[in-house]
Symmetry: C2
Subunit: 346 residues, 2 copies
DNA sequence: CCAGCTTGCGAAATCGTTTTCTTCGCAACT
DNA sequence: AGTTGCGAAGAAAACGATTTCGCAAGCTGG
């Protein structure tokens, strides 16, 4: 019944038919003109384009998708938008995909792979053509659901695609190694690490393993390195640092799995009478803005998050064209030396 | 052919017709059964549901959306995901909307209203049923496009809905006043402000105006307050602070339109030999994480960003039910007094 | 000058649902 | 008995685009 609602009095939606009418041609021609089909003449095309512009025509995507079987829609599932590192990645992704006329639906899993799975299913129902995930570790059900629905997957923050269509990221393990090497060069011999929670998080795990392996490699005894885990929050980082500083002998260098943790660690030291970097060196990860704000400024490993998002978008586009699985784009992380690290105390 | 299914290369898509066939009923009945329409008998419904489950039926969202004109899809356009304040808002929004079975498409405008307009068009084309915008100032074309497409609009970060369907936010003007009042109470008489770029940004403008008006109200001469504008970045905040500190006589209190700017300001002071808060008091806005990290910790105005997102979601749901335009939900900002403010120097 | 090709365009089929319209049967009322 | 009312379910009409097919010119080459 038309009388039920009359909130929007003038809500006339302009359809392709209206455009065609205005341009004085058929629906078919209008459609072709707008889609850049070369079989339509120059004059006619101009007329259609002009009409569309004048009327402010916006094509109905559902109809288009229904008929043409292309939705120009991808989903992304990240742990949380709260952390700048993921927000930046999504920003880059979104930016690049928008240029290709593709929209992005975002879901957050809160580091919970179970929730990730249900989000994935939801996205499939929504008809996304592809999905962007973080990390290499996922439930087999997630992967299967996606594969069965013919949804291609791009992994980020990792350089090992596994069964996915592609991966865009960096070598977490190597990054851990580089942190260790730098600290070893500075003469440190007793190490600590505040890792993110490694369960169901391959990135946190690999950073830790790289760090540990490089230290072992240098002939340091496993007794001289203490590893703690903490959820990604400043407070948790501070708490972990406290535990670390209570061990005897205490480490002179601490590598943190994220700047968030590192900031917590640094902030703990001041009031506790521990000097950074004189008494203890601290390295972060991600190169967030806060790394620059905290005192002393944080030595950290820079992760090009925005580029990663952009390149993920490109990998996706590339994959859709070529159909070749296993595209890998590796980005480089860089150790940024600032003020939170220094030579080992005597 | 009776061969049930090829491995997983070419999975046959099961349509409603298949379900109906299997359940031995018509399309219409199958549709009704699946949608919980009460006019279908118990027995029939069970049969349809069973058939759908067995076949692993997933409705084609495009077709459904096309016919039923409901996509369970909303768009949000924010300036950038880079700033935690917006990321948090989106996070809250997404969270709450997901519970209602609605997905969110995110676009970023980079504080550019022109880009916002084109993003809006894109979202309309995608068929979003509503759109969430930031602030009250938008191009008339944006508003028109949305109105014409029958897309409801919810504004955030503002409490004045204008022509939109609703607004969820806070009183930027009043927040500016409260900052000024607090500084006046502390005895300050010469004021500075580092505002965000106020062009096309009503929020930045209102905060500034509230601040200024409250100061004037207290009988302070306009000569004793200097207002600068800066893009939202730490460096720009620092640069603005430098300019501010070079005026004579220089302000003893500075209000910044964002914590980002305030952090830049605070960071500038240390090396410049200016003590915060002894020589100059600084107030931020947003209560970002960095406000807590910088030394001294920042007095700031807390903006409940995540709640704002959640409430925007609720406003939207409410609006869809009632159809009443002009829902306004006002949130309270709070002045959080920390260490970057103190009594005016003698 | 005509067969054969290309080009430009319109009519109509199509995508997979939801929703209206209709029909049918049966119980209940006048 | 005839009519009405009602619940359940099927047939067919939307929804708004794209795409297939076919037709009518306008060429070209033999």
């Amino acid at each position: 019944m038309p009388s039920t609602k009359l909130a929007n009095s003038e809500a006339k939606i302009v359809k392709l038919k209206d455009v065609a009418l205005r341009a004085g041609c058929s629906l078919a021609t209008a459609s072709r003109a707008l889609n850049g089909n070369p079989t339509v003449g120059e004059v006619e095309r101009e007329r259609v384009l002009a009409a569309a512009a004048q009327l402010g025509y916006v094509p109905n995507n559902s109809a288009r998708a229904l008929r043409a079987q292309t939705k120009h829609l991808v989903g992304v599932i990240i742990p949380t938008l709260d952390h700048a590192i993921y927000a930046k990645m999504v920003d880059g992704l979104q930016d690049r995909l928008a240029q290709a006329g593709t929209s992005v639906i975002i879901n957050t899993s809160g580091y919970d792979l179970e929730r990730e799975r249900s989000q994935a299913r939801l996205l499939v129902a929504r008809g996304v053509e592809a999905i962007i995930l973080v990390g290499a570790e996922h439930q087999t059900q997630t992967v299967e659901t996606l594969a069965r629905a013919g949804v291609s997957q791009i992994l980020t923050y990792t350089d090992t695609p596994g069964d996915a269509s592609g991966a865009v990221g960096f070598d977490n393990y190597a990054s851990g190694i580089s942190a260790a090497k730098y600290l070893l060069e500075l003469g440190h011999r007793r190490f600590g690490m505040i890792a993110g929670l490694t369960q169901h998080n391959d990135r946190a795990r690999l950073r830790r393993d790289g760090y540990l392996d490089a230290i072992m490699e240098a002939g340091i005894s496993r007794d001289n390195v203490v590893v703690l885990e903490a959820p990604y929050s400043i407070d948790a980082g501070g708490a972990a640092m406290r535990s670390l500083m209570q061990t005897h002998p205490r480490p002179t260098a601490v590598f943190c799995g994220s700047d968030i943790l590192a900031v917590g660690a640094v902030k703990y030291c001041g009031p506790a009478g521990i000097s950074v970097p004189k008494d203890v060196s601290i390295i972060g990860f991600d190169n967030l803005e806060i790394a620059h704000v905290v005192e002393p400024e944080l030595t950290t490993i820079d992760v090009p998050a925005r580029e990663m998002g952009q390149m993920a978008a490109e990998a996706l586009i590339e994959f859709k064209k070529s159909g070749e699985k296993g595209i890998v784009k590796t980005l480089q992380t860089r150790l940024l030396i600032r003020q939170s690290t220094g030579p080992a105390p005597d």
